[in-house]
């Protein structure tokens, strides 16, 4: 295990006191320390939002890009350097709203990256508008008569899109969170962890207590490898309980890096040795 202090930065944290994000940050550092991923071998990629500030608060390579656009650069990075561990830290708005298209297509690519969504069911940074996961009927700083768009179910969506590791965890469960983050990072292929994260400033419905009262951990008896059952489990969300744990898991599905002829059979393209003269053979064909 590496020293967790390795990941400390001296950037002042701008999150609100009491925000669930602090627990995630802590768990993430624990997970990478336990997995002995050195800061220089890790890249934390994000879009814009509160969650997306994470690259500033963990000492690692970091790419803090555009709102909704965390996954494309994350994949670009991995495609050219498969040695780097790539973790995306993003919000529900970032990943499922603005970035929804990249979400389903990143799953199709099934690259070995870990996608963490700090799901506070609200737009935090922009002050409390409804997000794609805000509950039907919830009043927000924008939806004065309540949200009328049905909430998106990220886990069901991920399973339907073909993801091979789909989990949910909760900031109130430190150990569970660390365990799942580690599993997700170790999983070969794309992994989604949707993290229930109370926003103390703007989501007065889905509070710490609200989650605490509803979450239950999936135990041994649950078989996460059955896709149809997993889909059914993923649909559970609400007063009757919210399952946390690995909802779906598929082993041995080939990943992009194994299927791509160049990535599979070569060193990283960033290390390719190349001279202009190496293009001669291509030009010859036009003689």
């Amino acid at each position: 295990m590496l020293d967790i202090k390795l990941y400390n930065t001296n950037d002042e944290n701008a999150w609100c006191p009491g925000c669930g994000n602090f627990s995630i940050l802590d768990a993430l550092k624990c997970a990478t320390a336990e997995l002995e991923i050195r800061p220089e071998d890790l890249v934390v990629v994000s879009g814009i939002g509160q969650a997306a500030k994470t690259p500033h608060y963990i000492r690692a390579n970091g790419f803090n890009g555009l709102h909704g656009r965390a996954l494309p650069p994350a994949q670009g990075i991995k495609m050219v350097n498969k040695n780097l561990k790539v973790i995306v830290t993003s919000g529900d708005g970032d990943s499922y709203g603005e970035g929804g298209n990249h979400f389903i297509h990143a799953i199709r690519r099934n690259m070995d990256i870990t996608h963490l969504v700090y799901d506070n069911q609200i737009y935090g940074l922009t002050k409390g508008q409804g997000s794609p996961t805000t509950a039907l009927g919830q009043k927000t700083t924008m939806q004065f008569e309540g949200v009328i768009q049905n909430p998106l179910n990220p886990l069901a969506l991920a399973i339907a899109s073909g993801a091979t590791f789909v989990a949910r965890t909760f900031t109130g469960d430190r150990e569970g969170m660390i365990k799942i983050l580690k599993e997700a990072i170790m999983h070969k292929g794309y992994s989604l962890v949707d993290i229930l994260q109370p926003c103390v400033s703007f989501n007065k419905v889905n509070t710490f207590k609200w989650y605490m009262d509803r979450v239950y951990s999936l135990d041994e008896s649950y078989d996460p490898t059955n896709k149809v059952l997993a889909f059914q489990k993923a649909l559970e969300f609400g007063d009757d309980g919210i399952p946390v744990g690995v909802i779906y898991r598929e082993y041995n599905k080939p990943i992009f890096e194994e299927l791509h002829p160049v990535i599979r059979d070569n060193e990283n393209v960033i290390d390719r040795v190349w001279n202009p003269q190496d293009a001669e053979k291509f030009i010859e064909e036009f003689m």
Binding site: G62, L71, I270, W274, P276, Q277
Partner: protein, 559 residues
């Protein structure tokens, strides 16, 4: 001597193969060749045509007057016969049965029946065309498409020979002796320039007329050992390329106007994160979907300031396939040098026309990455991605490459360490750091190419793909004694001003020649230099202007 052939018919009638065989054979006979396509946005039917100009002297452009039409359908004759020279002819199958003294009616279908291969139709016509110009068939077997099986090749060869016997030669040309030429279109030349330049990552979404850059790169990805990724949308394309570049790849993306429009937010991301990126915009007529398979130069103004906020960028327009190769190579170096976006502007005309040009010379070319290692760090120093240096360029490390150091980049305004800041002082310092690069770039800028008489009265000013038409037009005008010259811009932003100012002083009349409605280069020139065009020759019907049209319009509208 130069000749001009048109092959016309419907989408799906195999014109591409006829043209390919003819062009390659003409080239192999030592001739200069130039061919361009006029395609509709559909897969079958409609009316498409290809024009092939060739001769024993360099050919820079397509041309309206025709020596020969190969008509695969009646429409071709209807649409194009007026463009035949007095001496010109039309080759058509006897079954088309078109009554016109120009038509040489040939038993083409009959010939294919004799060979027992109806797909040979085009090759019979090709053979006839070669005979028409009295071009020897020697070596023609070598230019048949490689994908053909031996059996099909034999049949096609038979067909060409049969076609060759169907008529007498009407025209003749001394065969040439150019030998070190390649036959290539603009998009392939871009792709080759990128390959030579060490491109290692290309992400894009299909969009005519940019698609073929990706297609070529994709075809070569394994052999070249690079990653070419077709993505879900253009936003992903550019953000993925920026990610790859951040991680150390030489990255490029490309699209046409509509796709480029979707990329503009991320241009600023490359700008503020100071990530090298080359973006190709292969223009077609807009707005919106516009005319998807046609040509225009109407994205220049847009590209100069695309994206919110301010950051340094370079804009380079390609003028011909040679330029396409060398400038793409150069763009990759410049992007790395200035750690920002370099945009390449081309258009459908240049993307798709093929011409013979001297084989690209790789010897003088050097890949320059401007990537640093730990040598830039003092003992114990923590790496600062945005270190304030004298010239605005900070040493660039690659993530994972230097023990103990991390590389953080940020789309917010940031400190030297790349953390988010709201400090007014740091903001000013960072803006100035980035914008300084614009000044540095000016040293790298290449002046436009001038051609024409030495002390011109009229200077035509164009950019990009009008290069060839301008060149031939100026030649025609000069031959008739008109004191005309032309400046053709390749580098556009920062705007090179030396030659411009020189000719603005010397010449009486400045005329911008552009394929757009608003005169976009003229606007830029006015903005940057106060030099005003006296006249404009503009065209925006989706068809590339040709030398004759320039010539005519200069005579009627300018002189």
């Amino acid at each position: 001597m130069k000749y001009n052939i048109l092959i016309g018919g419907q989408a799906g009638q195999g014109m591409d193969t006829i043209s390919d065989v003819l062009e390659k054979h003409l080239k192999s006979r030592g001739l200069f060749v130039f061919s361009n396509k006029d395609y509709m946005s559909r897969v079958r039917g409609g009316h498409n045509f290809i024009q092939i100009r060739f001769g024993d002297e360099p050919v820079y452009s397509h041309y309206p007057e025709l020596d020969l039409i190969i008509a695969l359908d009646k429409n071709t004759i209807e649409f194009h016969r007026d463009r035949l020279k007095a001496s010109g002819s039309i080759i058509a199958d006897e079954l088309i049965a078109y009554q016109n003294e120009r038509v040489i009616s040939l038993p083409i279908t009959k010939a294919t029946k004799e060979i027992g291969f109806y797909k040979a139709f085009g090759m019979v016509a090709a053979g006839a065309a070669l005979k028409y110009f009295n071009i020897s068939l020697e070596g023609v077997e070598k230019v048949l498409p490689k994908k053909f099986s031996d059996e099909i090749k034999t049949k096609n060869l038979d067909a060409i020979k049969k076609g060759y016997e169907l008529l007498e030669s009407r025209l003749s040309l001394s065969e040439g002796c150019t030998s070190n030429n390649i036959l290539i279109n603009g998009n392939t030349a871009i792709a080759l320039g990128a390959l030579a330049g060490g491109l290692s990552f290309y992400s894009a979404y299909p969009m005519t007329p940019a698609t073929s850059i990706m297609t070529y790169l994709s075809k070569k990805q394994v052999e070249a050992g690079i990653v070419v990724e077709q993505v879900e949308d253009e936003i992903s394309a550019i953000n993925m390329a920026i990610g790859a570049s951040y991680a150390g790849a030489r990255a490029m993306t490309g699209s046409s106007g509509g796709g480029f429009s979707l990329m503009v937010e991320a241009l600023g991301l490359a700008g503020i994160t100071e990530t090298p990126l080359v973006v190709v915009n292969s223009q077609r007529p807009g707005p919106a979907t516009g005319l998807p398979t046609r040509t225009e130069q109407s994205d220049l103004s847009f590209m100069l300031t695309a994206s919110h906020g301010e950051f340094p960028r370079m804009v380079i327009a390609l003028r011909n396939p040679e330029d396409a190769f060398y400038q793409t190579f150069r763009a990759l170096n410049l992007a790395d040098k200035y750690q920002t976006v370099v945009m390449i502007l081309t258009d459908q005309y240049l993307a798709d026309y093929r011409m013979t040009i001297p084989k690209f010379k790789l010897d003088g070319l050097k890949i320059e990455r401007y990537i640093s290692g730990e040598e830039v760090l003092e003992e114990g120093e923590e790496y600062r991605r945005y270190k304030l240096t004298g010239n605005g360029i900070s040493p660039r490390l690659i993530p994972g490459k230097v023990e103990g150091q991390i590389v953080l980049v940020d789309s917010d305004e940031h400190t030297e360490y790349s953390h988010i800041t709201e400090s007014a002082e740091v903001r000013n310092a960072m803006m100035e750091k980035r914008m300084k690069k614009l000044e540095l770039m000016k040293e790298d800028i290449i002046e436009p190419e001038y051609f024409g008489v030495e002390k011109p009265e009229v200077v035509l000013i164009g950019w990009g793909s009008t290069y060839g038409p301008l060149k031939e037009a100026v030649e025609m005008l000069n031959n008739e004694g008109y004191r005309v010259g032309a400046l053709s811009f390749g580098d556009i932003y920062p705007l090179p001003q030396k030659l411009l100012r020189k000719y603005a002083e010397e010449a009486k009349v400045l005329v911008n020649v552009e394929q757009n409605y608003t005169g976009q280069l003229a606007k830029l020139i006015m903005q940057e230099t106060g030099i005003k065009m006296d006249k404009s020759i503009l065209k925006y019907d989706g068809r590339q202007i040709d030398p004759k049209e320039i010539y005519n319009r200069v005579i009627s509208e300018v002189l």
